[in-house]
């Protein structure tokens, strides 16, 4: 049986949403983010399924996964790794930290001090880590899913805007609906279900899909639309945080991934509009948080005309 690449991924979404109820959109967006080769930021209170989501994805995509629990006293070396002197070889040997895994869950990222945060974010951007003037490439693929507690919680160091820009997408999980919660309480424990899950996609297939997405057409008209969106925020700085070119690239990448999931070979303005709340929320929200940013994105989408 031949399966289209998009079908493969729909299957993943299907399976994941059977375990994590009422979170289909979030699962879809997380996958979009992974397919676009970007990092994901999830902001929410503890206990709404952030970790489960990551675990399910890791299992279904057959990605080795490591988890870093951030605390205020965590040091950069704790995540990147250390050079330890090997007396036999008479040289420093690099022992990779937990960051060296294809899928990394950085839990409660904003509880770490800025120094640790920035060490992590730098490696995210460059895909490599430099220790003692030696560059160590991170595994490929490499995805980082960071969660952060809402600003209202105590003991947090908020991420600066420049750092936030490194995340391709962000969303908050929100509580499951009343009905879904009833189903959750009746059903099996999601974590127990995890064990029975089998991988659906190989790393090879994931890389194939990513290559495919690279070829998806972004027409001039669509590029204009993205440019129009960015320009608008720059022209209305009194009410919008101006968006960077990197943001534009992010929008285009995420749109391509969505078009791929929709089995199209080209992007439509609808793709941009669909991913924009996730790509732009943390960028436009700034210090106000993702929820505020999401409203701003809606405002932007409802104002900027689709070029014809």
């Amino acid at each position: 049986m031949t399966m289209t690449p998009a079908f493969l991924w729909k299957n993943v979404i299907d399976h994941a949403s059977r375990i994590i109820l009422d979170k289909q959109i979030e699962i879809e967006q997380a996958l979009t983010c992974i397919l676009a080769g970007g990092h994901l930021l999830i902001e929410d209170v503890p206990g709404v399924g952030k970790t489960t989501l990551v675990q399910v994805l890791a299992k279904l995509l057959d990605l080795p996964y490591s988890r870093i629990q951030f605390t205020s006293d965590l040091l950069p070396a704790d995540i990147i790794g250390n050079s330890i002197y090997d007396p036999e070889k008479k040289e420093f040997q690099f022992i990779p930290g937990p960051l060296f895994a294809p899928l990394v869950l950085a839990d409660e990222l904003n509880r770490a001090n800025p120094r640790t945060q920035s060490a992590l974010l730098q490696s995210m951007e460059e895909g490599q880590v430099s220790v003692d003037r030696i560059t160590h490439p991170l595994p490929s693929p490499f995805f980082l899913i960071a969660t952060q507690n809402p600003r209202s919680q105590t003991g947090t160091f908020s991420l600066p805007e420049s750092q936030l820009d490194r995340f391709l997408m962000s969303f908050s999980m929100n509580y499951a609906s009343y009905q879904s919660e009833i189903s959750i309480f009746q059903g099996q424990d999601p974590r127990a279900q995890l064990k029975s899950l089998n991988p659906l996609v190989t790393i090879h297939q994931l890389q194939e899909s990513q290559e495919f997405i690279q070829k998806i057409v972004v027409s001039e008209l669509l590029a204009k639309y993205i440019a129009d969106l960015l320009t608008f925020t720059r022209q209305h700085q009194e009410s919008f945080i101006p968006l960077s070119t990197r943001t534009g690239i992010a929008l285009s990448r995420a749109s391509k991934a969505r078009a791929f999931l929709k089995e199209r070979q080209f992007c439509l303005p609808e793709d941009v509009q669909a991913v924009a709340p996730y790509v732009l929320a943390h960028r436009l929200g700034g210090a106000e948080g993702i929820t505020y940013g999401k409203n701003k994105v809606h405002e932007l989408i409802k104002t900027v005309a689709v070029p014809t």
């Binding site: 027409s219 008209l221 669509l222 439509l268 609808e270 989408i301 409802k302 005309a305 689709v306």
Partner: protein, 646 residues
């Protein structure tokens, strides 16, 4: 698949059956009733879920009715046979109706029939019924799914389209050249308008039979002249041949000398709109000097008769000038009167009495009036058995009658006394419409009076009815019939005719009467003369009008080409999108500026669910061009093709 019923959409069926009812007065009974029968059969078939008749069956019936049409009219060409056949054809189509794809054909037939109605009748009433039917038919041209889901938008769409077409309609109405040529004159093959009113003969009962008839004969609008009701004698026929109490016209006398119409058209006193009479004579006032019409030639015959060469089949507008009121005609003796009977002894005795002590014809006439009053002659609307009433019976036995009895016997008596006297048949008075300031004459205003040669050898009008029933003439037929004797007298003596004022119902009647009159004179009778006048009033010569017309067309053409050019400047993808958006804008669906093509496509598909496949394909053309990087001229062509098929 189950055949669809036309009654499933009851409003649609209703608006399709309307034209049939509109045409009811104009088509033969067989056509109307058999079409109703077919409609009904279809309804029964749907109700009982019977088998549908085959196409062979309906086709056979169509042929049969084509044959019947031919047999009825001896021809298949012309509005009557065409309409009679089309009405049946529409009902047969209803009988075999299966899918909504046939709607277009049904609506087309409906359009034909409603339009055909205007060939029969241009009355305001028919217009006000036909026009909404037309609007309904336009409404049903819209796709069913769209109509049912967006009734309001569909309604505004239709109304907007009609409003958009209005300027062009008005422009064409005023400036499209009216040809008075016969090409545009459709000959009626079915003289369904019965010739009501006078025939060529006036006999006892011929006027009184019209008393109940409210049909309009003519409307007269006086310009700068205020006539009194007493002077409004509308003469039609001059009758010179007597037989008993009957009088008829003498065609030989009329054809003796025909005077060409060299009437002046300037400053008329009265504008008269004559309803089709299917006769050829024209009603004029006493002492008419000029009488002319832009529509046809009118000739003046001896005996003060005006005639056209052909029957008056369409509403005729003509103008006349007359001399200020005097009972004397401007015409001298111009004909002989033929009496058939010789006077009976009793009549001879009366003749002797009348001519006693009388030197002039005027005195004799006065004596006759005295005789009528002394012998208490009665004016009655019901003169009883008219059978073979002789002059003796009337003068000495019944002593009651209608105007024709009095006029006829007066003329007979005067002629016996060697005073030439002739009977004039026409109308008197009429009803004044204060709203439109015109007079309406109805068949019930029919009247007969006489003219005799007076001492100066001129024809003089004498109306014996005025002696017997002065109120009939002072009030007009309308009030006279309405009021009892005492009331009429009270109304007349107190001179409250003007003060009494019309009732509100009457006011309404006047209003609609006026509306109808203006409609006829301003819209239906807008002819080439009026067109020329309009141009004259605007100080435009015909040459200038043509020049303006050309300029107008040029400007239109240039702006069109400019529009097309600006469209050429647009990219292909923009042109496709503009085409799509314009198409849906027509249906009240507008693309939001922030809406992407997918969302927009979804909305249009929801509005037109039965066309969603085509709409999908249409948007695919745009998306391929704008977002798929599949640039090709074929996208534009395909989009055009799809838009046409929507």
């Amino acid at each position: 698949m189950m055949a669809k019923s036309v009654f499933a959409d009851s409003k649609f069926a209703f608006c399709l059956i309307l034209p049939t009812f509109l045409l009811f007065p104009d088509i033969p009974a067989w056509s109307f009733y058999s079409s109703l029968l077919f409609w009904f059969s279809r309804w029964v078939i749907d109700k009982m879920e019977w088998k549908m008749p085959t196409r062979f069956f309906t086709g056979f019936f169509a042929l049969v009715f084509l044959g019947i049409t031919y047999l009825t009219f001896d021809s298949l060409i012309g509005r009557e046979p065409a309409c009679a056949f089309l009405v049946v054809l529409l009902s047969l189509k209803i009988l075999e109706y299966q899918t909504t794809e046939e709607n277009g054909f049904l609506i087309l037939l409906g359009f034909y029939l409603v339009t055909a109605k205007f060939l029969f009748d241009t009355n305001l009433i028919w217009f006000s019924l036909g026009f909404p039917t037309m609007i309904l038919l336009i409404y049903f041209l819209l796709p069913a799914g769209f109509r049912q889901k967006n009734t309001k938008i569909a309604g505004t769409y239709v109304i907007r389209n009609i409003l958009i077409s209005l300027p062009l309609c008005l422009f064409l109405f005023f400036y499209f050249p009216r040809f008075s040529s016969e090409i545009f004159h459709l000959k009626s093959q079915n003289n369904k308008i019965q010739s009501i009113g006078f025939s060529e003969e006036l006999e006892p009962g011929s006027v009184s039979s019209l008393v109940q008839n409210d049909e309009i004969v003519l409307r007269a609008e006086f310009i700068n002249v205020k006539p009194s009701i007493n002077s409004l004698y509308w003469r039609g026929l001059t009758l010179t041949k007597q037989d008993g109490l009957s009088w008829s016209r003498d065609p030989q006398l009329e054809s003796k000398q025909k005077r060409s119409p060299m009437f002046s058209k300037a400053d008329p006193h009265v504008q008269i709109t004559l309803e089709p009479t299917l006769k050829s004579w024209i009603y004029s006032l006493d002492q008419t000097t000029d009488l002319s019409s832009n529509q046809i030639n009118i000739y003046k015959l001896p005996l003060g008769v005006f005639k056209t060469q052909t029957m008056i089949e369409n509403r005729l507008v003509y103008h006349l000038k007359f001399q200020s009121s005097s009972q004397r005609s401007i015409d001298a003796n111009d004909g002989e009167i033929t009496l058939k009977d010789t006077p009976s002894p009793e009549v001879k005795k009366l003749l002797k009495a009348l001519s006693m002590n009388a030197k002039t014809p005027e005195e004799i006439v006065f004596h006759f009036s005295e005789f009528l009053v002394k012998n208490s002659f009665q004016y009655t609307l019901n003169p009883g058995d008219q059978g073979k009433l002789s002059i003796d019976d009337f003068l000495f036995k019944t002593k009651k009658g209608f105007c024709e009895h009095f006029a006829s016997s007066a003329a007979i008596l005067l002629n016996h006394l060697k005073i030439p006297a002739r009977v004039i048949a026409g109308y008197h008075g009429g009803e004044y419409n204060p709203v439109g300031q015109f007079w309406t004459l109805r068949q019930k205003d029919a009247h007969a009076w006489i003219e005799y040669l007076d001492s100066s050898n001129h024809w003089r009008r004498y109306d014996p009815t005025a002696v017997i029933a002065p109120m009939r003439l002072a009030l007009g037929a309308n009030d006279f019939a309405r009021l009892s004797g005492d009331e009429a007298l009270a109304l007349l003596t107190s001179r409250r005719r003007d003060l009494a004022g019309p009732s509100s119902f009457q006011k309404l009647t006047y209003f609609f009467e006026n509306l109808n009159y203006r409609w006829n004179s301003a819209v239906v009778n807008f002819d080439i003369e009026k067109q020329k006048n309009l141009l004259k009033e605007m100080n435009i010569s015909l040459a200038e009008a043509i020049l303006y017309g050309i300029t107008f067309t040029l400007i239109l053409a240039l702006s069109m080409s400019w529009l097309l050019r600006s469209r050429k400047n647009a990219t292909r993808s923009q042109r496709i999108y503009q085409m799509i958006n314009r198409h849906f804008e027509n249906y009240g669906l507008e693309k939001k500026p922030t809406e992407g093509p997918e969302a927009w496509r979804l909305r249009t598909c929801q509005a037109f669910p039965e066309q969603s496949q085509k709409i999908q394909a249409l948007f695919d053309c745009y998306i391929a061009e704008s977002y798929g990087n599949k640039h090709s001229q074929s996208n534009l062509f395909r989009a055009k093709q799809l838009l046409r098929s929507l």
